[in-house]
Symmetry: C2
Subunit: 260 residues, 2 copies
């Protein structure tokens, strides 16, 4: 069966086959000159950062703790498709702990796999049990906890470790960590796939350039205490996003927003 | 300034002026014959129920406890526009307690105002302080608490009271209450504007026919404990919704879903 999708916006509408997912012809911006990147310290280069998530109409990003049950087959192909545009795919360790998942792109094209980056504060990173394909993918564990606080080495197997620099106040300096990803690991395009705390850290520090959101035509419900939203953290100061494009496939909306 | 909006879906796209909000030409289904309504007990008539909400991209339906800050001027006109199609506008008392609001439609047309229905379990309904225009609108307070448990009469002024019938297990029977609204108060079209618990009660009991969701192009963030979502309650059993139409105005998406 051939999957179809329609680009609704920008106009005019255009029907596409969605065999390979949405965004097959996506071209992300080339590395911007440092002066165009507004993060701190000003002028420093860093990867172009996109976030990709799937949510229900009622704003839930996981069903029973797992996001994998929420989207359609087209959404899953779109996810792999975005990975194939990225040099690295980043997730929070909490997301990895909650479900077995893979971070690879579509292998049928024989393309190089993106670097998998797992962000952890506690060091509890169940790579061998939960990261499908960890043995054939380069994996980097980015630790953001205080030195000596975590026991990362116990559970990360062959993965390389990168300790995030700290700010003068002692917090993890994500911006500096991203710059190291670019300069030492050749990550020009970074795809982030949650969870909510990692998304929030990047967005609130102006480190995320775009959000790709699949809106699944489902109402999940569930108590507030279990309601994982797209972002989790303090209220954001500059909440405005700019809608770039809208695709539709079988009731599922694929929304792309520019965040900066 | 003339506000513009584009219907993106169904195709072909069509540009409209949005002076009076989206859905100016909306025609809701006429009252269905009882046999077509699937609620319990089967075959009973009830109003056609639509829910209208505004949410941020990250699924929040309120900023600092207030939904009024989330949408644009076009969204607020759309809200009044939907009210003008309804015989009654229903909200939960918690929503009324959280902010001063009005439930009237656009008075410039001189149309009859919809009946305001406030649903309360506890009887704490601050009509006089928080319902703007309560003195010129018919108000009905629908109590769903156990008899004798609430002190509704103390705070509802001139409002009429309707005690929801109870199911054999002693819970409030919302379906029966809706049927009373139709038979005794001539409510054929009921518009519900939250909050999350009331939305959930209606959707989970198959008493909601459509959802109108405005997706504001904003990322709000905020801690999970303060994250009001569209629905709040137990996980839903049949979560699928059907996308009916998509409008776009200045980055704001107006989504219409059929729920049954």
């Amino acid at each position: 069966m051939t999957s179809k999708a329609t680009r609704l916006y920008p106009l005019p509408p255009r029907e596409i086959t969605a065999e390979g997912g949405i965004y097959e012809d996506l071209e992300l911006p080339p590395a911007l000159p440092p002066a165009r990147r507004g993060d701190s310290p000003p002028g420093s280069p860093r990867p172009y950062v996109i976030i990709n998530m799937v949510a229900s109409i009622d704003g839930r990003v996981a069903v029973g703790g797992k996001s994998s049950r929420l989207g359609s087959a087209v959404d899953r192909r779109t996810m792999r498709n975005l990975r194939s545009k990225a040099d690295a795919v980043m997730i929070g360790a909490g997301t990895l702990r909650s479900e077995r998942l893979s971070l690879d792109s579509d292998r049928t094209f024989g393309a190089a796999q993106p670097l998998a980056v797992i962000v952890t504060k506690t060091g509890d990173v169940p790579l061998e049990s939960n990261l499908i394909g960890h043995e054939r993918q380069r994996v980097l564990v980015l630790t953001t906890g205080v030195e000596g606080e975590n026991g990362t080495s116990r559970s990360c197997g062959e993965a390389r470790l990168l300790r995030a620099p700290t700010t003068p106040s002692g917090d993890a300096d994500l911006g500096s960590a991203l710059r190291i990803l670019q300069t030492e690991h050749a990550v020009d395009i970074l795809l982030v796939e949650g969870g909510p705390s990692l998304n929030h850290s990047l967005v609130s520090q102006n480190l995320a350039d775009e959000l790709f959101l699949t809106l699944a035509p489902k109402l999940l419900g569930g108590p507030q205490s279990a309601a994982l939203a797209l972002l989790e953290g303090s209220p954001l100061q500059s909440p405005r996003a700019e809608l770039v494009s809208v695709y539709l496939s079988d009731g599922e909306l694929y929304l792309r927003y520019r965040l900066r």
